[in-house]
Symmetry: C2
Subunit: 281 residues, 2 copies
């Protein structure tokens, strides 16, 4: 099962002295593979670059990563029409201690996994979501990027065991709605779209960015803004985004039921035109 | 260099699919080895147990871990009189995705490293410390335990590159003093000792607990309390603790100089009696 490429070599293990193992000192990207290509690659690479700069890690080499994505796809045996790639960039090996050595060299890991689209009914009828008890701590220095420190998301997802909820929405420690454990969230009220600001915590999702681009281009009124927990239940429409499933309407959140309304459907159709074909209701 | 024991077997690598690599889903302990034994083992094991419970990880087996510590010491070639052990417990391997599989089994890693005491002058004259720009996010669910999500400490320590500071003190996002990047902090004012509460962030250090035990036993007046950033400069004495160096007096923090005063010396002497012999000024 040597399906990972580690610095370009097939393998399935890394050194325990790697700073990813010791401290979660690194970043990752999860990228949809469609038609044998990484979808929205420029946005994923930009976030990875931005994350490396924020953590003072060496800059990743774009051509090398793209080459390795194609190699990883070949060795994976996954369907090139519908798969998912994961890239991990770490601060590399080092001696014991939080401080990075001066001469550390990134470790680069790439793998492609088989994947399946969600059931059509999820897009047609929407999914049910809940609210996680686990909160997101506010850390502006790490907000937006996808670091390997993901315990809050793990604890949030673990809350969903034995439930039928497709996602858990997460609040920050000041009761603001931020995102789902693995998605961004949008709500619609009187035809205007709102999505939480990702300035204190949360991940700035590639699909979220794509949706914002679409709203800009199509003059859909929207606002990136702090959203209190109680605002959600007064929304007319609610939907989630992530790079794998595209856009998913929410049909129920706690006591509140939503219709997949006009704005949600409009953005779904626009996404389909941009290649997010799984998002068609 | 197969100095790690991985689930009891010598090696130096773990599977990339281990959740430590993917999400930092696990815990660690760093333990002083003195006279071929892990010092204050019951306190380290208790914190590890507590951390496993908080993260819903399987409980570690105490006898097995102690046995592996002794094995790791033997294969390390380190001086059994003065070395340092690291234990890492992870949520084990799993498929892609934040949610832990139902049947996950902890991965257990143990290694002993050679170590050296700090220079005597650090204990006699105190060390100079600075304040990190990196803040600690407030996350009560993870406060106190030693998870593998340690990017804040990494960024804090990286700030100390090219400085002569022995440690960087860290504030939380509300300007409270919490701890150093790798130590706990105590200040003394009018002979009373104060140490920050570890309820929102920070690690509840074993040496900190030992010092609190000593203050209880010797009727030294103390308080565990929130401490604002400006309180530090008005302190009479300031000192740091961690499991490796014991207690280190601080001689300078930002513009403020401190003497290694009466209470600091009293606690240092008490620690020496408890086996923390490196802490003698």
């Amino acid at each position: 099962m040597n399906n990972w490429l580690i610095n370009g070599e097939a393998g399935d293990a890394i050194k325990i002295d790697d700073r990813a193992v010791q401290y979660g000192d690194g970043l990752f990207e999860t990228i949809a593979i469609r038609c044998a290509e990484p979808r929205f690659w420029p946005l994923h690479f930009e976030r990875l670059q931005n994350g490396c700069a924020r953590l003072s890690l060496g800059a990743p080499d774009e051509a090398q990563l793209k080459h390795e994505l194609h190699m990883a796809l070949q060795i994976s045996g996954a369907d090139p029409e519908f798969a998912v790639a994961k890239i991990i960039i770490t601060a590399g090996q080092g001696p014991r201690g939080y401080r990075r050595p001066r001469d550390c060299t990134n470790t680069r890991m790439v793998r492609v996994f088989a994947s399946r689209p969600r059931p059509r009914s999820d897009y047609e009828n929407g999914v049910a979501v809940t609210r996680c008890q686990t909160r997101l701590a506010q850390q502006p220095q790490l907000a937006g990027i996808k670091t390997l420190n993901r315990l809050e998301q793990v604890l949030g997802q673990n809350e969903l065991h034995d439930t039928e909820f497709a996602e858990g929405l997460m609040l920050d420690t000041d009761d603001r709605l931020v995102c789902g454990t693995m998605s961004n969230v949008f709500l619609v009220k009187k035809n205007k779209v709102y999505t939480p600001a990702i300035t204190r915590c949360g991940v700035s999702g590639v699909m979220r960015r794509k949706i914002i681009e679409i709203m800009e281009a199509r003059h859909i009124e929207y606002e990136v803004i702090d959203i209190g927990r109680d605002t959600v239940s007064s929304a007319d429409e609610l939907f989630l985004s992530n790079s794998q499933f595209g856009l998913l309407p929410v049909r129920q959140y706690e006591e509140t039921r939503f219709a997949a309304g006009e704005q949600t459907l409009r953005i779904m159709r626009a996404l389909v035109e941009q290649g997010v074909t799984e998002s068609s209701a």
